[in-house]
C-alpha cells in the first residue's frame, strides 16, 4: 500500500506507516508502579484500580490505527480549514490565455474562476481553463511522475540527478561539434520562458528555438508585414465594432482568443432602454460555427469561394472609398450579402471590422486592405499594442526538419505534440528518429514523448511559477497553488539548470520581473518593484500605463494587387471540400485527456466524446447519409472513416471534421478503454505558401456501410414552433420593446402564495448575450461535483449536467404555418440558431415537490427548490413531472463504478481531490439537480453577517454569484435577490424583454429569460416576420391550456 499512496499534506509524505514509529510504541510503566504499590491498603487498591483502568484505556489508545489524514501540527498561515483561499494566476494551453483565480480548500485547488480585475476577460473563463484543474489530479498511467529514460521500447524511471548529470554533457558535446540543437516549443507568450530559452541558447550556441503551433495564425502577421510594414498580429477590438464581417472565422468559439472576443462582441449586443442598439454580424462560413450560430446573417460559403468573396467585398468598398478595383471571378452567395455587408461596413467605417480565419497570406492581405479602407486601424484594430498570443522562433518546424539529420539533440516542450498534430507527422517522426538525443518535457507520455530518449516531465501549470504577455503592455503573473504532486520539475528550471544557471523558477521569475519593471519603478512617485510585485501577484497582472499618444493610422506600404491576383488564381473549385475546425471544448487537442471537456457537448452538434464528419442535409439526403452512417473521407493519400453528422447550415459540397481527436497515446481518457476517441484529421492539413491551411478541396467521400450511434446530449433539432424561446429583430424592438413578448399569461392562484420575507433568489438570463459557448456548464460541473458518465450513458441520454444549453434550429416557415408536425421536426438547410441555457427553474409552484412521496424535495423560504439527497429514495416521479426535464438521476454509482466508462481518472482516488467539499457526492438511486449553488448563497450570507457583525446583514447585490454566472464571459446570467427592488436581477425581471419559459403551465419559475433581439437587415426581418407569426399564433393557441 506504500505504492501509489497520495499525500495530502507534507507531514503525510514523511509520515511512517503504522506501528513503525517509535513514538507510537511508548510503554506505560505499569509494572514498576505496581511493585512500588504492592504493600498497599484499600485506598491504594482503589488507586491501582483507577490507574489500571486508565492505563488499559491509554494502552488501547496507543494501538489505534494511524490514519494518513493527519491534522496540521502547526497551522499554516492564512489557511483556515473550511475557508477557501483564492490565488490569481494565469492559464495558457498554447491556444488562449486567461487570467484566473484558483479556489483552494485545505491546500488543494478545486475550482478555476474568472479574474474580475483582468482587462482581458473581466471575470469570464472558457471551458478549457475551467477543466484544466482536473488535469492537475490526472493520475492516469500516461501522466509521468518522474523523469524517465527510453530503454528499448519502454521507459524506465530515472532520478533527476542522473538526467542532469548526463544530458548537459551530451548537449555540450553536440554544441562543440557544431551540431545544431533544436528546442521545439509552442508559441511562447512568457517573457520568463523567453529569457530561459535565451540563456539556454547562450550556453549552447548551436541551439535553435523552433516554434511550432498545431494551429497556425502566421498569415495575419505576414499580411501586416507586407502591407503595413509591421510584422504583428493586431489586437482585435470587437467591442468597438458596430458592424463585423467575418469570413470563415470562429472568433466566438475557437479563433485566437475566443473568450476575450466573446466578451468584447457581446458587450455590443446587450439591448437596454438606454442603449437600444445592437452591433451587426455577417458570418460567411462553410461549417456551422459558434460564431455563425450567433450571427445576424450567416451566409454559407465554401472555402474555395472565400478569396473571390473577399475581393468582391474589397471592390464594393473600394468603389465607395475611391480606391482602385480589381477584377475577380464571379461568386454566387445566397442573397447578395456581400453588397449588403459592404454598405453596412462602409456606413459604419471607423466602427467596422472584417476578419478572416483562413491562414493564407494573400487572403489576409485583402482583409488588411479592406480594414484599412474602413479606417479600422487605431479603432477596431490596434497595432500599437499588438496581440502577442502567437510568437515566432528562429525557424519553423518544417524548415528545421531538414536539419534533423545532422542534429545533436532535439528538445521538445510538452505543450507541443508534432508527432500527432503535424500534417506530415511521418516526416517528423522519421527525421526525429535520426537524432541521437531526444528529450521531451511533456508531463504525459504522449505521441511525441514516446519517441524520445528522455522525458523530463514539466509541472502542471498550477504547480508552476510563470508570467505571460498576451498583449503588449499587459503583463500577467502565474503562481503555483499547490506543491508539486509528483517528482516533476518546471520546464524553465530544467532548461536553466542545463544551461548552467542554478536557480529556482521563482527566483528567476522575480529577477526577470525586477528587470522588466525597473524602468517603471524608477519613475518618481511610482511604486517600488516589491510593491509592484506584490500588487501584480495579488491582482494577477500589471498593465503598463499607456503613454497616451494615439496611434496615427498606418500607411499602406504596398499594393494589395499581387495578393488579389494570387488569391484569385489559387481558387480551384471542387466537388467536395473539407473544412478542418476546432471544437470549443477540445481545441487543438492539447488538453484532450480531460473527461470534463469530452463530456461538454459541442455547442452546435451537441455531440460528446467523438468527432465526426459534418455533412450538409441536402447532400446527405442525396447520398443517403444519416447521422451515424459511416463515411470515409479521402484526401490525397490519407483517409478517415467516421460517423457522419447531418449538420444544418453546413455549406453544400463541403464536409467538416474537427481537429484534436484521434490521439493514440497520452492518458486513460485519450485511450478511452483502448478504443480511442474519434479520428485524427490533422493529416488533411495542406500547405500553401509555407503556411498550413485548415481547409482543402478535392476530397472524396464514400459510404462504408457501417453505422455508429453518436452520443448526442440533445436529440431533437427544432423547437416545434413552441413558445419556449422568444425572438425579435432590432427594428421590431425599437418599435415596441415588448416585441415577441406581448403575451403575458394571466395567473390565477388557487392558494395564497407563501410569503418570502428574507431573500427571494431569482435569475435572469439574457438570450441576447448568451453565445452558447458552454463555459458555464463546465464551471457547474466543477462547482457541484457532477459526475462524468461517459459515452454510452450519454447515448442512453443519462448525462448528469445540471445546466444544459438547449440549441434550437429554426424550422421551415411554411411548415410552421401549416403546423405540419412532421415537417416541423426538420430544421432548415441553413437555419437560424438560438441557444437557451436550461437549468432548474426553482418554480414556486414546483410540480416536482408535490409528487415526491418522502418529501425529499421541498421549497425553501427563499424560493429555492431544495433537494435532500439522503432522504431521496429514487422514485423518479419528480423528474417525470418536471416540465423542463432538468432533474438528473444517478442511474449507477457514477463516482466509483469503473465498469461503465472505463477507468477515467476523474473517478479515481486522486481525481476525487478536485471535489468541492461543500457539495455532497450523490449515491446511486438519488435524484439531483441545480441548487442555485446554495452552498455559495449560504457562504455569502454568512460572510455578510460576519463582516457587518450583525445577524440582519444581507450580502450586497452582485456579491452572490452562482458558478455559471461567475464563469460567463458575457454576463448573460444575472443572479440576485428579487426582494431587493434595486438589485440588477429584479430590474431585469421587470424589463419588457423578460419572460418565463412555459409560463402558461403556471409553475411560477424563478428563472426568467430575456427576448433575443437580432439585428437583421429590414428585408430579412420582414421575411422572418412570418416565422414569428407562426410561432406566436400557436403559442397563443396553447395559452388556453
Amino acid at each position: 500500500m506504500r505504492e501509489n499512496r497520495y499525500w495530502q499534506t507534507p507531514e503525510q509524505l514523511h509520515a511512517a506507516p503504522a506501528g513503525t514509529d517509535p513514538k507510537q510504541e511508548r510503554d506505560i510503566p505499569v509494572d514498576e508502579l505496581l511493585e512500588n504499590a504492592l504493600p498497599s491498603g484499600r485506598r491504594d487498591f482503589l488507586k491501582m484500580m483507577g490507574f489500571g483502568l486508565s492505563a488499559a484505556v491509554l494502552a488501547a489508545c496507543q494501538k489505534a490505527p494511524v490514519k494518513y489524514a493527519l491534522p496540521y501540527v502547526k497551522n499554516p498561515t492564512d489557511l483556515v480549514p473550511g475557508i477557501p483561499n483564492f490565488y490569481a494566476t494565469g492559464f495558457y494551453d498554447g491556444q488562449e490565455f486567461s487570467s484566473i483565480l484558483v479556489k483552494t480548500r485545505e491546500g488543494r485547488p478545486i475550482k478555476v474562476e474568472g479574474n474580475k480585475l483582468s482587462p482581458l476577460h473581466k471575470g469570464g473563463v472558457g471551458a478549457r481553463a475551467h477543466a484544466s484543474i482536473l488535469s492537475l489530479y490526472d493520475n492516469s498511467d500516461a501522466r509521468l511522475r518522474q523523469p524517465a529514460e527510453a530503454n528499448g521500447d519502454q521507459f524506465v524511471p530515472v532520478a533527476w540527478d542522473k538526467l542532469d548529470g548526463t544530458v548537459p554533457g551530451k548537449l555540450a558535446e553536440a554544441a562543440n561539434a557544431g551540431k545544431p540543437i533544436y528546442l521545439i516549443t509552442g508559441s511562447v507568450i512568457s517573457p520568463m520562458r523567453m529569457a530561459a530559452i535565451a540563456a539556454f541558447k547562450a550556453k549552447y550556441p548551436t541551439a535553435q528555438h523552433v516554434v511550432y503551433d498545431a494551429i497556425n495564425y502566421d498569415a495575419i502577421a505576414q499580411a501586416h508585414e507586407t502591407l503595413l510594414g509591421k510584422r504583428a498580429m493586431p489586437a482585435y477590438r470587437f467591442d468597438k465594432a458596430q458592424v463585423v464581417a467575418s469570413f470563415n472565422c470562429d472568433f466566438l468559439g475557437t479563433w485566437l482568443s475566443p473568450t476575450e472576443f466573446t466578451r468584447q462582441w457581446t458587450s455590443t449586443r446587450k439591448v437596454t432602454d438606454t442603449n437600444p442598439t445592437v452591433s451587426r454580424l455577417y458570418q460567411f462560413e462553410a461549417q456551422m460555427s459558434l460564431t455563425g450560430a450567433n450571427a445576424d446573417h450567416r451566409i454559407p460559403m465554401k472555402p474555395s469561394q472565400e478569396a473571390a468573396a473577399l475581393v468582391a467585398l474589397y471592390n464594393s468598398i473600394a468603389a465607395r472609398a475611391r480606391q482602385d478595383i480589381y477584377n475577380a471571378p464571379k461568386v454566387e452567395l445566397a442573397g447578395n450579402f456581400i453588397e449588403k455587408a459592404s454598405l453596412d461596413l462602409w456606413e459604419a467605417r471607423g466602427k467596422a471590422l472584417v476578419v478572416s480565419g483562413t491562414n493564407d497570406a494573400n487572403i489576409q492581405q485583402i482583409v488588411v486592405a479592406i480594414n484599412w479602407m474602413l479606417e479600422a486601424y487605431g479603432a477596431t484594430l490596434d497595432l500599437e499594442r499588438p496581440c502577442l498570443l502567437r510568437s515566432r522562433g528562429d525557424s519553423t518546424l518544417e524548415a528545421a526538419l531538414a536539419g534533423f539529420a545532422g542534429a545533436g539533440a532535439v528538445l521538445i516542450h510538452g505543450g507541443t505534440n508534432p508527432a500527432y498534430s503535424h500534417p506530415t507527422a511521418e516526416a517528423f517522426t522519421s527525421a526525429l528518429a535520426k537524432v541521437p538525443l531526444r528529450i521531451s518535457f511533456s508531463s504525459y507520455l504522449d505521441d511525441t514523448a514516446a519517441l524520445c530518449t528522455h522525458v523530463a516531465p514539466d509541472h502542471h501549470y498550477l504547480e508552476s511559477w510563470g508570467d505571460a504577455q498576451p498583449y503588449a503592455g499587459q503583463y500577467f503573473l502565474q503562481q503555483p497553488t499547490i506543491q508539486p504532486l509528483f517528482k516533476t520539475r518546471q520546464f524553465e528550471e530544467t532548461l536553466l539548470l542545463w544551461a548552467g544557471v542554478k536557480t529556482t523558477a521563482f527566483d528567476f521569475l522575480r529577477a526577470q520581473f525586477a528587470q522588466a519593471h525597473k524602468a517603471l519603478a524608477d519613475k518618481k512617485d511610482a511604486p517600488s518593484v516589491d510593491q509592484l510585485w506584490m500588487q501584480s501577484l495579488h491582482d494577477g497582472f500589471y498593465v503598463h500605463p499607456s503613454d497616451g499618444k494615439s496611434a496615427d493610422a498606418p500607411k499602406l506600404a504596398a499594393s494589395v494587387a499581387p495578393a488579389v491576383a494570387a488569391a484569385t488564381q489559387a481558387i480551384k473549385p471542387a466537388e467536395l471540400e473539407v473544412v478542418l475546425y476546432q471544437k470549443v471544448a477540445i481545441g487543438d487537442g492539447t488538453l484532450t485527456n480531460n473527461p470534463w471537456l469530452h463530456e461538454l457537448p459541442d455547442p452546435i452538434s451537441k455531440a460528446v466524446w467523438d468527432n465526426y464528419v459534418a455533412v450538409n442535409p441536402v447532400d446527405a439526403q442525396a447520398k443517403g447519409i444519416k447521422t451515424g452512417t459511416h463515411v470515409k473521407v479521402t484526401l490525397g493519400s490519407y483517409s478517415v472513416e467516421l460517423p457522419a453528422y447531418v449538420q444544418p447550415g453546413q455549406a453544400r459540397g463541403t464536409v467538416a471534421i474537427a481537429l484534436g481527436y484521434g490521439r493514440t497515446k497520452g492518458g486513460k481518457v485519450v485511450e478511452y478503454s483502448g478504443k480511442g476517441l474519434g479520428k485524427n484529421a490533422y493529416p488533411f492539413v495542406t500547405f500553401a505558401g509555407g503556411l498550413p491551411r485548415y481547409s482543402a478541396t478535392g476530397a472524396t467521400l464514400e459510404l462504408t456501410g457501417g453505422f455508429t450511434e453518436l452520443a448526442l446530449s440533445q436529440r431533437h433539432p427544432t423547437s416545434m414552433g413552441r413558445d419556449i424561446i422568444r425572438e425579435t429583430t432590432l427594428s421590431e424592438y425599437r418599435k415596441n420593446p415588448k416585441a415577441a413578448n406581448e403575451h403575458q399569461v394571466h395567473i390565477v392562484q388557487v392558494f395564497p402564495q407563501h410569503p418570502k420575507n428574507g431573500h427571494w433568489w431569482a435569475m435572469a438570463i439574457d438570450l441576447n448575450a448568451c453565445t452558447g459557448c458552454g463555459a458555464c456548464v463546465v464551471s457547474c460541473v466543477a462547482e457541484n461535483n457532477i459526475a462524468v458518465v461517459g459515452r454510452n450513458e450519454v447515448k442512453r441520454s443519462r448525462e448528469m449536467h445540471w445546466l444544459r444549453i438547449d440549441r434550437y434550429y429554426s424550422t421551415n416557415p411554411e411548415a410552421l404555418e401549416k403546423q405540419d408536425l412532421k415537417a416541423m421536426e426538420l430544421p432548415e438547410e441553413y437555419p437560424q440558431v438560438i441557444f437557451q441555457p436550461m437549468l432548474c427553474q426553482q418554480c414556486d409552484n414546483a410540480p416536482c415537490e408535490t409528487v415526491c412521496p418522502v418529501l425529499a424535495t421541498t421549497h425553501s423560504s427563499e424560493g429555492l427548490n431544495q433537494m435532500t439527497y439522503n432522504r431521496c429514495i429514487g422514485t423518479r416521479y419528480c423528474a417525470n413531472n418536471c416540465p423542463y426535464k432538468v432533474r438528473r438521476f444517478n442511474w449507477f454509482n457514477y463516482w466509483n463504478d469503473k465498469t461503465l466508462y472505463g477507468d477515467l481518472y476523474s473517478h479515481s482516488e486522486m481525481g476525487r481531490l478536485v471535489l468541492n467539499p461543500d457539495v455532497t457526492v450523490r449515491f446511486r438511486g438519488v435524484m439531483e439537480k441545480c441548487s442555485f449553488c446554495v452552498q455559495r448563497l449560504q457562504d455569502a450570507k454568512l460572510r455578510a453577517k460576519v463582516n457587518a457583525n450583525s445577524t440582519f446583514a444581507k450580502p450586497e447585490d452582485g456579491e452572490v454569484k452562482t458558478a455559471c454566472q461567475q464563469s460567463c464571459p458575457t454576463g448573460a446570467i444575472v443572479f440576485g435577490d428579487f426582494n431587493d427592488p434595486e438589485s440588477e436581477v429584479s430590474k431585469l425581471i421587470r424589463h419588457e424583454r423578460s419572460y418565463k419559459a412555459l409560463e402558461d403551465i403556471k409553475v411560477l419559475p424563478n428563472v426568467q429569460y430575456m427576448t433575443l433581439v437580432r439585428n437583421r437587415t429590414e428585408a430579412e426581418a420582414a421575411s422572418r416576420a412570418r416565422t414569428q407569426k407562426g410561432a406566436e399564433t400557436h403559442a397563443a393557441a396553447d395559452h388556453h391550456g
Binding site: 395564497p752 418554480c843 408535490t850 421549497h859 425553501s860
Partner: protein, 175 residues
C-alpha cells in the same frame, strides 16, 4: 361447558329441516342448534338468532380510522412540521382525502373481521366439535338438548316424519 346429552336429527335436505324446525317450534321444543354445510336462509327465527351488531362495530371502527388519519396528517403538517410543498398551503385538506378514505376502509374491514372471530370464538387450530363428520359436507344436523325435552317420542317422530334419515342421542359439549 360440560358435556350433556343431545338428541340429534340428521337430514340431507334443508327444506326438511325447516319443516322439522317449524313443527318443533309449534310443539314448544327448544332447538339447541342446527349445523349445516351451507347457510340455510330463513332459519334464524326458529333458533331465535338475533341480527348481529357487527355492522355497527364496523361503522365505529371506520370512524376511528378516519379520525386517526385526519388527526395525524393535520398534526404533522399543521403543528409538528409545516413545510412548503410546491406552493400548497401547509394543511392541504383536499389532498388528505385519499389517505383518509383508505384508512377508514382498512380499519372498518379488519376491525370487523377480528371482532367476528372473537365473538364466534374462532382461532387457528381450534378443535371443531361435530355431531356428524359429514355435517360440513352434505348432512344437516338438528341438535336438541335432552334435558329440555319432555316428550321424547314426539320429538323423534317429528324429526323422522320431517325427513331425518337418522335420529340418535349423543354426549357432546355442544358448539
Amino acid at each position: 361447558m360440560k358435556a350433556r346429552n343431545f338428541v340429534v336429527g340428521k337430514f340431507w335436505n334443508p327444506d326438511h329441516v325447516l319443516e322439522a324446525l317449524d313443527k318443533l317450534q309449534h310443539d314448544r321444543v327448544l332447538v339447541y342448534d342446527v349445523f349445516s354445510p351451507f347457510p340455510i336462509h330463513g332459519i334464524e327465527p326458529y333458533l331465535n338468532i338475533k341480527r348481529t351488531r357487527l355492522t355497527v362495530a364496523s361503522f365505529i371502527y371506520g370512524c376511528i380510522g378516519v379520525t386517526l388519519a385526519v388527526t395525524m396528517m393535520s398534526l404533522i403538517y399543521g403543528v409538528v412540521w409545516p413545510v412548503n410543498i410546491g406552493g400548497k398551503p401547509y394543511v392541504p385538506w383536499v389532498d388528505f382525502t385519499p389517505v383518509a378514505f383508505e384508512t377508514t376502509v382498512l380499519f372498518a374491514a379488519h376491525g370487523m373481521v377480528i371482532t367476528f372471530f372473537i365473538v364466534g370464538n374462532f382461532w387457528p387450530g381450534k378443535k371443531a366439535r361435530l355431531f356428524d363428520d359429514r355435517q360440513t359436507d352434505d348432512v344437516i344436523v338438528v341438535a336438541i338438548d335432552r334435558q329440555k325435552i319432555e316428550n321424547m317420542d314426539a320429538v323423534r317422530k317429528t324429526l323422522t316424519d320431517a325427513g331425518a334419515f337418522e335420529v340418535t342421542e349423543q354426549i357432546s359439549e355442544g358448539r
